[in-house]
């Protein structure tokens, strides 16, 4: 078969999908971006508002800070879990993978509702703390930033564990032992041999969790407080409550730009594309 007929057939197979995504994704998103620059008062008025008005600077800052906190929490929990996953026998591996995959396959709303059940003032966590005599009354664990952090960390954890476990499984297990036999303490063998070898997984996981957290809507809306809203909620508010489409479009463009930039960095430097299995 000639090179040309190959390309023709590829074109024929790809054309319906290309048209579909162009009409229902690329074009609508491009229109949304264009709307953000369409104000008669000037193309950048909405962007000036986002980056000069303290109210909106605070939302952008809060979103970035919270995403960073979620990424770090995921690393702290995900690292030991990925390590354990890698050194477990078949049964241990199956149990850990099941625990990682169950949340992956559970509806986001079910999990958020589960956290409300657990964390609300009458919930099990506060009940246990009261029984133990540690608190009187209730600790506010939900409808605030604490609730969002707990909920988001649980949801993002698989995205940290999977790249970490992939990197750890490729490390030669004799290397830390070699360091030990050459006189390194267990701590030194870990910090100077194992940890640097897992660095690509750590960075890929941090980047992935941070990127996915930036645009998160459901969990902050359900578990967060009414006052400390995030970027995605601000977009929703401007569309569904104040009908300020151009401003919502500008916020969306900022979020889109940040996400694509992070994805590009991840793809270029940490081989994020391989995680999706598309290369």
């Amino acid at each position: 078969m000639t090179e040309k007929s190959f390309t023709w057939r590829a074109g024929g197979l790809l054309l319906p999908g290309l048209l579909f995504l162009a009409a229902l994704f690329a074009w609508p998103v491009a229109r949304l971006v264009a709307t953000s620059f369409s104000d008669p008062a000037g193309a950048f008025v909405h962007y000036e508002r986002i980056f000069l008005d303290p109210v909106y600077i605070r939302v952008v800052g809060r979103t970035m800070a919270l995403s960073a906190e979620v990424a770090v929490l995921c690393l702290l929990l995900g690292y030991p879990l990925a390590y354990q996953l890698n050194r477990s026998g078949p049964l241990g591996k199956a149990i850990i993978l099941l625990c990682v995959l169950i949340p992956f396959w559970t509806n986001l709303l079910v999990r958020s509702y589960g956290w409300i059940v657990l964390l609300n003032p009458q919930g099990i966590i506060n009940g246990l703390l009261r029984e133990a005599g540690l608190i009187e009354g209730a600790v506010p664990l939900v409808y605030n930033t604490t609730g969002v952090l707990i909920g988001m960390t649980q949801i993002m954890l698989p995205y940290m564990v999977l790249p970490l476990a992939a990197v750890m499984s490729r490390i030669d297990p004799t290397l830390p032992s070699a360091a030990r036999s050459l006189g390194a303490s267990p701590l030194a063998a870990f910090t100077r041999v194992y940890l640097p070898l897992t660095m690509p997984g750590i960075l890929a996981g941090l980047l992935l969790v941070f990127m996915l957290s930036l645009g998160f809507f459901v969990v902050p809306a359900l578990l967060g407080g009414p006052r400390d809203i995030l970027l995605a909620q601000l977009i929703d508010f401007n569309i569904n409550s104040t009908l300020n489409w151009p401003f919502a479009a500008a916020l969306s463009t900022v979020l889109l730009g940040a996400t694509l930039a992070l994805y590009w960095i991840g793809d270029r430097f940490f081989d994020l594309g391989r995680l999706w299995g598309t290369r």
Binding site: F6, T7, R9, A10, G11, G12, L13, L14, P16, G17, L21, L24, A26, W27, P28, V29, R31, L32, P80, L81, Q84, I96, C99, V100, I102, P103, W105, N107, L108, L109, V110, R111, S112, Y113, G114, W115, I116, V117, N120, Q122, I124, P186, G215, F217, L222, D236, I239, W245, A249, S252, L255, L256, T259, L260, Y263, G273, W276, G277, T278, R279
Partner: protein
């Protein structure tokens, strides 16, 4: 610290993290049987009242029906389109392939709230708001990357000599495709279909924007349930969703194992 001690500490830490991961999922089941009108833990008494309400209140049972129809149609459309795309991508030269693949993966990377906002205006103009076709089209956009990824994964492992052998033995391209390529790809296509179904069945954000009184999905109904009533009927709905997830996860596992 001895090696064995640090090893058991690590096991304990990992077990605690596993509990953290499954805790919210497991917490909803007992609540769905409570006799109280609000959520308390531990639940009081035992009743099937909330399941009865779920299956008798039109808003809830209706939304389950809409979700099921939309998810099945999305799975069909996304699997067909996605398999064609994966086959097409497999034939492209490597350097072009990367960029084209990136375009098709984008709906998975772009935050859903942006897709939701972008689709709202064109959907409103063409009467697709609060309609089943509108929901199917929007969900297909979100589901396509998962089908492409699942089919591509198998396609990359496909030994092209098998197809060439069929051709050299006299099979037409169509027959070779139907009787050789397609059966090899079947597990990837099936896995993609499962992913597409669950993507649609669980989708919240885009549905919140484009669903409406005439076509409300179960997640949208649950969203208002969680935000505005917090009644245990949401727990009953959650348990039903969990059963669906378990069934699909089992199907997926069986496909992967073959």
């Amino acid at each position: 610290m001895t090696g064995r001690m640090s090893s058991s500490i690590l096991t304990a830490v990992a077990a605690a993290i596993c509990v953290f991961l499954v805790m919210p999922t497991l917490a909803v089941a007992p609540i769905s049987f409570t006799e109280t009108d609000f959520i308390t833990f531990p639940p009081r008494g035992f009743t099937l009242r909330w399941y009865e309400e779920f299956f008798t209140r039109p808003a809830w049972i209706g939304s389950l029906g809409t979700s099921a129809i939309v998810a099945v149609l999305t799975a069909i459309l996304a699997t067909t389109l996605g398999t064609m795309i994966a086959l097409g991508l497999g034939q492209l030269p490597r350097r072009v392939g990367g960029a084209v693949t990136f375009f098709f993966i984008l709906p998975m990377v772009v935050p859903t709230i942006i897709t939701a906002a972008a689709l709202y205006t064109p959907f409103a103009r063409s009467g697709l708001i609060a309609s089943i076709p509108g929901l199917v089209l929007a969900h297909t956009v979100l589901a396509l990357p998962f089908v492409i990824i699942n089919v591509s994964a198998i396609l990359q492992k496909l030994d092209h000599r098998v197809v060439d052998a069929a051709r050299s033995l006299g099979a037409t391209p169509a027959v070779a495709f139907r009787r050789v390529t397609l059966p090899i790809l079947a597990p990837g296509i099936a896995a993609g279909a499962v992913f597409a179904f669950i993507t649609s069945f669980d989708e919240v954000v885009v549905s919140l924007f484009i669903a409406g009184a005439n076509a409300t999905t179960l997640p949208v109904q649950m969203w208002s349930g969680i935000r505005f009533e917090i009644s245990p009927i949401v727990a009953a709905a959650s348990c039903l969703l969990l059963i669906v997830s378990c069934v699909l996860l089992t199907i997926f596992w069986l496909i992967q194992r073959r």
